[in-house]
């Protein structure tokens, strides 16, 4: 009996009128946990009852505490007939089970009814007394912390990252049980909500147990999903990354004004590293396989398809001795793991050594009834199979780990597509071994101390090759510079898994890089990016015949490789069209419907300085002798070229020009023109596997051989760039924007469109789908126009095909405003502040017992970094640097500056706006005067943050209202704020149903109200935990079904996120030394209740 749960029902307000005669309600409350139920007295004739109940106490196992939700039901007492239910509140008490999170849940909760929606509110106080359980064989895992955030949470430090944890539980879906025929929709919905709540509790507990086994104490990047398999059951599955986290206890240490901002920077993922030097290696694009295994006895195996090139094949032979060494070490670290997968998307610097490319696997399954819910072996086996495939793809890319890993399903009737994808990577083994790396993994962006030291050390390494030995002694086998190291290919050049086009890294000139890089992770903080990024989407529809069972599955698996191929081609073309060379946060979603498949890929395109400049797109006509045709072609070619030029300007992509002689690379650097014309097959060794890719033609030559191809080209050009003042990306941070202001607006938009069913062809479908997405984006830009300049971050599209001709698109994203004027000053601010920063950095470095904290740093933190930067902008050490010095001319100015603008960070602020003009002038003067200082400007991007925040002071916080404000964001951070505490995971599942659809404003009115209600319930729970924000918020499922003829609709929504307390930077500085005390009792509105 290791726990006592205590619940007190305080009051209700705004209850609905349940008695028409008196226009009043006689309300009472049932409190249920497990099998125990308590009741309050009836509070007669009031819409605002004051129960003020005693404490209801439940004595329960901690296993039960983890699994069960607390269930509060508000009813209307009726003397003569059955009591009428008003609604329910489910409270997940998990956050009370670990010590650092919330201690009490107290506040107003919306009373929710699956038929009527929110009906009034109830004030509840919940506490838990936990006793220590010494039983070693316990089934509970209280104390393991869960985070949805896919990075090391802000106020923690990762001691060890243990690795992948997964679990799934299955059950029958109550909606499909026989009893559903005789019970009310309400009862059925509630049974379902309760079951899912129970299942997620159980799942979380089981994952927790696995974490404890691994000796971890937390799960980061926890992603839980439901598969509504209909007749065959309900699957709840979750994946995550087990870690051992240490709380950064001395929050107060960061508080002094000069420190906290710098700390903050580490926390705000907007931060980019300064550009430090770059050298070394290589890498690759996508590597995908579409396996399709059907049910156990039926299996169609589609040959593995690898993008861009070919061959999945064998891993490359180890290259140099360094690589071998690295590989061995990593291998040993990862070997014990069945699946060396990480659900994280952002990593501490130094963690990612190389990135190979995207690996993905899909498999088509036929669902059959889950016979024994206690042994969900089939589903387990399915996933194990897919993961195995992913693992082998990663191997083929010369990588031992997969990062940014995620899994998803798409179900239509009895067919289910399982998908998994991630980014093959080589990791630094030291982060994975127990104990060796104390303090090494600060935070995800632990960039200042660790960052500077790494950066500068790298810089040295790069500049003075002789020091490499020392660096390898320190444990980095191949001192790859952080700015470009991750781009270097991990596979062997002579034995490439696919015919990539390799060049020497444009940053360090030492190692090979591929010409494009696709990944599923966020842009590493240390990456050197030129210009801004943008959201790139590939959209695709494919009709398929309606079919049953295995025939259906077969036709789907036959279509999949073609879809993947086309999606990839589209992405590639759109990337080129924007003059960019890398994709981050790539997410390809394939949705299956009755008569079609839809593919939607979203990613954020950027220009990585380390990769070669992308070539243009060349159109080739089929009949070259036809004059008018030729003319048409050249007209199109011109349009394409114009678009590319326009995009380059729009996204500020001005890579430095490289005179040929400086390059000096052994691989002859092709001029763009010649490269375009060269066909890939000439330059690559063909691996003998099935090559569905571009075959003899270069990926970027579009051959117009029929009208389809013409359409494709047209559709390429129809993507409209966002209106001015808007940027968008699907990653956490937008490269090139760094001066965020605290105003954010998270939103969900949903559209359902009916496809006209006449003449459905792939082309019209594609066009319709494309228009749907484009129009949706357009309307978002219009809605948010008052926030300009702003950036839509973490734009997350989900596509569903609920019925034959219906397409449903749901988008969740956050719009964040930024300060335009600041951007102009980005260069300048840092220079001025660098001096004052120096001291801070030194102090910070002391907290960071990192391997690299070598002597030169302590004494002179900047010089090495500066050299690095010069290296970065000049590409070939000293000669280039001299070149830079010599030419302070305009042309150099633009070329050299842009990278810095892109990477440096400046948060500052309104106050500056007024001065900006003067400062801009000063800035110009300075830049000119200083000539080569440009580099310095970017190297301490750390500093501007600090100062920026200082000036933010007067940000008004709207706290006058009786309801506390709760911010929501899909990002892991809040701009201009510091997260001081994680209160626990929010994971909620709601069903809403109506039998009076027209009366509720039709489908739009119904869903609009429901989503608003979901937001309200999430906010209420967070506020009751004492929090003021949800980070890493995600709407994982939104299943909408309608039956207009019956005037009915039903919707299921599943959301999750991390409840946190944040403090505005500005407030933080004004507080004395103890902010946490101030913050810890902020919002609970039921303050009148105490024990």
């Amino acid at each position: 009996m290791p726990g006592k749960l205590k619940v007190k029902i305080v009051a209700g307000r705004h209850l609905p009128v349940m008695d028409r005669a008196s226009d009043l309600t006689d309300a009472f409350v049932e409190v249920k946990f497990g099998n125990t139920t308590f009741k309050t007295d009836v509070y007669p004739k009031s819409l605002n009852p004051q129960w003020n109940s005693e404490w209801f106490k439940f004595e329960v196992d901690d296993e039960e505490l983890q699994d069960e939700p607390l269930q509060i039901t508000v009813l209307d007492h009726d003397t003569y007939s059955a009591n009428d239910a008003i609604g329910k509140v489910y409270i997940d008490i998990d956050p009370l089970l670990y010590s650092e999170a919330a201690t009490v849940i107290s506040g107003w909760f919306p009373i929710y009814d699956t038929i009527h929606g929110i009906r009034g509110e109830i004030n509840v106080v919940v506490k838990v007394d936990l006793f220590n359980d010494l039983n070693r064989f316990r089934q509970s895992s209280c104390g393991v912390k869960f985070f949805c955030t896919t990075s090391i949470p802000k106020c923690y430090r990762a001691v060890i990252i243990h690795g992948f944890v997964e679990e799934l539980v299955v059950n029958e879906d109550p909606e499909y049980q026989w009893i559903d025929r005789i019970r009310t929709p309400r009862a059925s919905n509630e049974a379902r909500q309760r079951l899912i709540s129970l299942m997620s509790g159980e799942l979380q507990r089981k994952i927790g147990l696995k974490v404890l086994e691994m000796r971890g104490n937390a799960v980061v990047g926890y992603l839980q999903c439901f598969d509504l398999e209909g007749e065959s059951g309900l699957v709840v599955r979750a994946i995550g990354t087990a870690c051992t986290l240490d709380k950064l206890s001395n929050t107060s240490a960061f508080l002094p004004a000069c420190n906290s901002p710098s700390k903050e920077m580490k926390e705000s993922p907007l931060v980019h590293p300064p550009s430090h030097g770059c050298r070394s290696t290589h890498n690759s694009p996508i590597h995908t396989a579409t396996g399709s295994r059907l049910t156990q006895n039926f299996s169609v195996s589609v040959p593995t398809l690898i993008y861009t090139g070919m061959g999945s094949g064998s891993a490359g032979k180890e290259g140099g001795p360094f690589k071998t060494l690295l590989r061995q070490q990593t291998q040993s670290a990862l070997e014990q793991r069945e699946f060396p997968f990480f659900t994280l998307t952002t990593f501490p610097p130094g963690f990612l050594v190389h990135v190979g490319g995207v690996v993905s696997a899909r498999s088509v399954k036929l669902l059959d009834r889950i016979h024994n819910p206690d042994e969900p072996e089939t589903r387990d086996a399915w996933w194990a199979e897919i993961r195995q495939e992913i693992k082998s793809h990663a191997k083929a890319l010369g990588c031992h780990a997969v990062v940014g890993y995620s899994e998803s399903t798409s179900i239509c009737e009895e067919v289910c597509i399982l998908s998994a994808s991630g980014t093959a990577a080589v990791l630094n083994p030291r982060f994975l071994q127990d104990g060796t790396m104390e303090g090494c993994l600060e935070q995800r962006l632990s960039w200042q101390p660790g960052f500077f030291s790494i950066g500068s050390e790298k810089g040295e390494v790069d500049f003075f090759p002789q020091s490499q030995d020392s660096s390898s002694l320190l444990g980095i086998e191949e001192a790859s510079p952080p700015g470009c190291g991750f781009c270097h290919i991990p596979y062997d050049e002579l034995n490439m898994p696919f015919p990539a086009h390799l060049t020497y890294c444009y940053n360090c000139r030492k190692q090979k890089v591929p010409d494009v890089l696709f990944t599923t992770i966020d842009l590493p903080v240390e990456a050197i990016v030129i210009g801004k990024g943008c959201l790139i989407q590939a959209r695709l529809c494919r009709l398929k015949k309606k079919a049953q069972a295995e025939a259906n599955a077969t036709s789907i698996s036959n279509l999949l490789p073609f879809m993947e191929y086309e999606v990839h081609t589209q992405l590639m073309n759109k990337l080129k069209l924007r003059g960019m060379n890398a994709l981050f946060g790539l997410r390809i979603q394939i949705t299956v419907g009755e008569n079609m498949l839809m593919g939607l890929a979203s990613a954020t395109g950027v220009y990585l300085a380390a990769l070669p400049t992308p070539g243009g797109i060349q159109i080739a006509g089929k009949t070259p002798n036809d004059g008018t045709y030729e003319q048409h072609i050249s007209h199109m070619q011109k349009k394409i070229n114009d678009t590319i030029a326009k995009n380059k300007e729009l996204y500020e992509i001005n890579p430095p020009e490289l005179p040929e002689e400086i390059i000096g690379s052994p691989i002859p650097e092709p001029r763009q023109r010649s490269r375009l014309l060269r066909s890939q097959s000439e330059s690559s060794d063909e691996v003998t596997e099935l090559d569905l890719s571009h075959g003899k033609k270069d990926a970027f030559v579009l051959e117009i051989d029929d009208t389809d191809a013409m359409e494709d080209v047209h559709s390429l050009l129809t993507d409209v760039p966002p209106p001015s003042g808007f940027y968008s990306c699907n990653t956490e941070i937008m490269p090139g924007i760094n001066n965020w202001t605290p105003e954010i607006q998270m939103f969900t938009a949903v559209r359902v469109s009916r496809l006209s069913n006449i003449n459905l062809t792939n082309q019209t479908l594609n066009k319709n789908f494309n228009d749907l997405c484009e129009n949706l984006l357009k309307s978002l830009y219009f809605k948010l126009r008052s926030m300009v300049p702003c950036c839509l971050c973490h734009v997350n599209f989900t596509v569903a095909l609920p019925e034959d001709e219906l397409v449903q698109i749901a988008v969740t994203a956050v719009a964040i405003t930024f300060d335009k004027n600041q951007a102009l000053q980005a260069n300048k601010a840092p220079t001025e502040k660098s001096q004052q920063r120096a001291s801070t950095d030194n102090e910070d470095q002391l907290q960071f017992p990192l391997e690299l904290c070598s002597d030169p740093l302590a004494s002179q933190p900047f010089p090495p970094a500066k050299e690095v930067l010069e290296g970065a902008s000049s590409h070939t050490g000293i000669p280039a640097a001299q070149r830079v010095m010599k030419s302070q001319s305009g042309s150099w100015f633009t070329a050299g500056t842009s990278p810095e603008i892109a990477t440096s960070i400046d948060y500052s602020s309104f106050a500056d706006r007024c001065n900006s003009w003067i400062e801009l002038i000063k800035l110009k003067a300075q830049t000119i005067r200083r000539g080569s200082i440009k580099t310095t400007a970017s190297l301490d991007k750390a500093s501007p943050l600090a100062e920026g925040y200082l000036r933010h002071r007067s940000v008004p916080s709207c706290t006058n209202s009786t309801v506390s404000v709760v911010k929501m964001t899909p990002l892991s951070f809040l701009p201009g704020a510091k997260i001081t505490k994680y209160l626990g995971i929010i994971n909620m599942f709601f069903i809403r149903e109506t039998t009076s659809l027209r009366e509720e404003g039709g489908v739009s009115g119904f869903l609009h109200a429901f989503i608003a209600e979901v937001f309200a319930m999430v906010r209420a729970h967070v506020a009751a935990l004492g929090g003021n924000a949800v980070v890493s918020y995600i709407m994982k499922q939104c299943v909408f079904m309608e039956n207009p003829n019956k005037n009915q609709a039903q919707c299921l929504i599943n959301v999750s996120g991390d409840a946190v307390i944040f403090v505005r930077e500005s407030e933080l500085e004004m507080l004395p030394v103890q902010p946490s005390t101030v913050v810890s009792q902020p919002t609970s509105s039921g303050g009148d209740v105490t024990t």
């Binding site: 939103f747 359902v752 319709n768 357009k778 219009f782 809605k783 739009s1004 609009h1008």
Partner: protein
């Protein structure tokens, strides 16, 4: 490809003030879109009509959901469904309860009943305010009326508290409630020159000086009524015109004081008796419901119009009323000094407010 379902929900509820006003003015989605188009939003934001339609529909839906809460503004502050910054909440309430004075003018003194609601089309046609907007405004009046009908204490304060309105708006509502309660006649032709503002000001003076709340805020009777006892007492004032000696004395006192000070001295002297009779009798008649209705008619017919035809300036009237009110202090036989001044304060204020073209 038609969109069946198209929604946008922000964590902070997006409110477009322009669209809100269009909604309040009773425009349909199509009309609102047309107006926005004319407003040039397309050119500014460079978007399509479809986007504008979807945006307008979204806002309209939000407003429809908010409307229920706007009916009880304190709930808007407490509700959890929409996260709206306080300043925006205030804006929503204020705009929702704002009304057209021309519409309110038409409605003054009418019973806020279903019958009146049926006649709104007519008022709508006369005032040019759309029928939907008329209905909303009418419902607002009625809702406020119902809510404060039985409450004690100053009307305006109650309204402000229950509906979170800014003080000036709350005072206007108090006037509307007061008129609806007292049913003064305002529709007569000769009253047409009076605006809503004139009547509201008069009502405020009456509430300030005459009602129970004016004397004791905790008084038992609702504030909308002028207490019966007070009206009864007003009969006592008739002595001023009924008693010939008093009347003459009163006249001579006023004339002495005003000699040489007003431009219309002769006319005043000539008309003193009918004027005085009118002024006193207006009060004396207030006990009968039917005569109450004529309060403003009488003032206009028997005081304002004669003065106007004699070309009194507003300053003349002010001076005259000042001395006219003050003079009885010097009348030893007149014992209702306090009552007189309480009565005349309102009459004076009303007349001065109403004395214009």
């Amino acid at each position: 490809m038609t969109s069946d379902l198209d929604i946008f929900v922000g964590n902070t509820t997006l409110i477009d003030e322009e669209v809100y006003q269009l909604w309040l003015d009773g425009h349909s989605v199509a009309e609102a879109v047309a107006r926005r188009l004319r407003g040039g939003v397309l050119e500014r934001a460079g978007t399509s009509v479809a986007v504008l339609q979807s945006d307008t529909r979204d806002h309209y839906r939000t407003f429809q959901m908010l409307e229920r809460l706007l009916h009880a503004p304190p709930r808007l502050l407490q509700q959890l469904l929409f996260q709206i910054p306080p300043s925006r909440q205030a804006m929503l309430v204020q705009r929702y309860y704002a009304f057209e004075e021309s519409f309110a003018r038409e409605l003054l003194g009418k019973k806020l009943s279903k019958g009146t609601k049926k006649d709104l089309d007519e008022i709508s046609a006369r005032t040019g305010v759309s029928i939907k907007s008329c209905r909303r405004q009418f419902d607002n009046f009625k809702r406020v009326f119902k809510a404060v009908e039985e409450l004690r204490g100053p009307l305006a304060d109650n309204i402000q508290q229950l509906f979170l309105l800014p003080p000036p708006l709350a005072r206007d509502y108090a006037a509307v409630v007061f008129f609806a309660n007292s049913r003064f006649e305002t529709g007569k032709r000769r009253l047409q020159f009076l605006t809503f503002g004139d009547f509201a000001a008069c009502a405020q003076h009456m509430m300030l000086h005459w009602t129970q709340g004016a004397l004791a805020p905790e008084a038992a009777e609702p504030d909308g009524d002028v207490p019966k006892s007070f009206l009864q007492d007003l009969k006592e004032l008739k002595v001023l015109v009924a008693d010939k000696d008093l009347l003459d004395l009163h006249k001579s006192l006023v004339c002495t004081a005003l000699r040489g000070k007003i431009s219309v001295y002769n006319e005043m002297e000539a008309n003193f008796k009918p004027l005085s009779r009118a002024l006193v009798n207006v009060g004396g008649k207030l006990t009968h419901a039917r005569d109450v209705r004529d309060f403003f008619v009488d003032l206009v017919e028997k005081v304002i119009e004669p003065c106007r035809s004699d070309k009194w300036s507003p300053a003349d009237l002010r001076l005259f009323l000042g001395h006219y009110t003050a003079a009885p202090r010097a009348l030893p036989a007149f014992r209702h000094q306090a009552l007189w001044e309480r009565y005349m304060a309102v009459i004076t204020a009303c007349l001065l407010r109403m004395y214009h073209d």
